[in-house]
């Protein structure tokens, strides 16, 4: 019961702190998934750039901004939403970790083919935690096109990444006891062998 209450409270806090933006009915949403995440300093984190409920998507581009002191971007790779429907031409864009900007990531289907409907992953972003803090992952310069190069209206949902300190691990008390006991046992065995060897005396030819 206590566990259930804790989970409810945690969920309530998440909803309050990171409310899901409301978009017009039927409007596709470009989002960071998960919307909030945590990574320790010097560790990597992978985030998806997702699209939901889109119709007739042929090509897209976007920029992503983040806090340069908190995170650094390692790479941005193609998601499978378009490539599952045909061949594509993906441009990963330019990563500027001093500005905290990934600019002009883009992808387009190839050939006179129809656009793609539905929801899925457009790109996969790999970040590394630099220093403790929280960074928004925010979209800009977003353009989605249908096969006739008409823009598709889209809602944007930014993400958030918290970087926690990289604390050196301390062994649990039980682990420590086990280690001491093991070391003692090894020492005892070594001592016993030495005494046996001494009592046997030197071997004469």
């Amino acid at each position: 019961m206590l566990r259930f209450r804790m989970a409810f409270i945690a969920g309530f806090i998440l909803v309050c702190v990171f409310p899901r933006p409301s978009f017009a009915d039927g409007l596709p949403v470009l989002s960071i998934d998960p919307v909030s995440s945590t990574v320790t300093a010097n560790a990597n984190l992978t985030l998806d750039v997702n699209i939901s409920d889109v119709t007739n998507l042929y090509g897209f581009q976007f920029d992503l901004a983040f806090s340069p002191g908190t995170l650094s971007a390692s790479s941005i790779a193609e998601g499978n939403f378009l490539s599952d429907s045909g061949t594509t031409f993906f441009i990963s864009g330019t990563i500027d970790n001093s500005l905290g900007l990934i600019s002009f990531t883009a992808n387009s289907l190839l050939g006179p083919v129809p656009g793609v409907d539905g929801s899925g992953t457009l790109a996969i972003l790999t970040l590394m935690g630099l220093a403790p803090g929280t960074s928004n992952i925010a979209f800009s310069n977003v353009l989605l096109l249908d096969p006739d190069f008409n823009p598709i209206d889209v809602g944007l949902q930014s993400g958030s990444v918290t970087v926690t300190p990289n604390v050196t691990s301390v062994p649990e008390p039980s682990t420590l006891l086990l280690l001491i006991a093991g070391t003692g046992l090894l020492g005892f065995q070594w001592h016993s062998r030495n005494r046996k060897a001494e009592s046997a005396g030197p071997i004469s030819a």
């Binding site: 042929y58 090509g59 581009q61 061949t87 441009i91 883009a106 387009s108 289907l109 190839l110 353009l143």
Partner: protein, 177 residues
């Protein structure tokens, strides 16, 4: 050309200083009538793009007398890309007695057809053209790295509109690395 005997019975001549007619045969040598050469008018046709068949807009020579025109190359021929290609016409006048055959020639330029998305002008749209867009992607007019060929819609920036415009012209199923 050998002379011809013309109207040998109808000529009567009088000797100088007498009214007595002189009877007898005389030979009058005359030159044959010279044939005229028709005047052909034909100007260099306007440039055409590759794939255009020759037709009345190009093969439109005229002559000052009736006759028939035989063109080389003939109508409906599709010329390769190239400048200054020769077109000739041989004219056969209807009145071949009074007129000689004639000929004339003009030159025509056949330009490579502008293909949407063919940024490097090689006559097809493929990965090389997409690479041109990629190299300039995100660049604006005046910025280092901006390639005007990549700005397909001429809006001053190379973006997804240009990329998709080119990519749509690539044959479906093409794989570009």
């Amino acid at each position: 050309m050998s002379p011809v005997l013309e109207d040998i019975t109808s000529h009567r001549l009088a000797a100088a200083g007498t009214t007595e007619p002189i009877e007898g045969l005389i030979r009058i040598e005359t030159s044959p009538k010279e044939k005229a050469t028709p005047l052909i008018s034909w100007s260099n046709p306007a440039d055409i793009s590759s794939g255009t068949a020759l037709g009345s807009a190009q093969l439109n020579a005229t002559a000052n007398v009736p006759g028939t025109f035989v063109y080389t190359p003939s109508a409906n021929t599709v010329l390769p890309v190239g400048s200054g290609q020769l077109l000739t016409v041989n004219f056969m006048p209807s009145d071949s007695v009074d007129y000689n055959p004639a000929s004339a020639s003009v030159r025509i330029n056949v330009n490579a057809k502008a293909i949407l998305g063919d940024l490097n002008g090689d006559g097809s749209v493929g990965c090389d053209d997409l690479a041109i867009v990629k190299a300039s992607f995100g660049k604006k007019t005046g910025q280092t790295g901006f390639d005007p060929r990549a700005d397909v819609n001429h809006d001053g920036i190379v973006n997804i509109v240009d990329l998709s415009t080119v990519s749509k012209q690539v044959p479906a199923g093409t794989v570009c690395k």
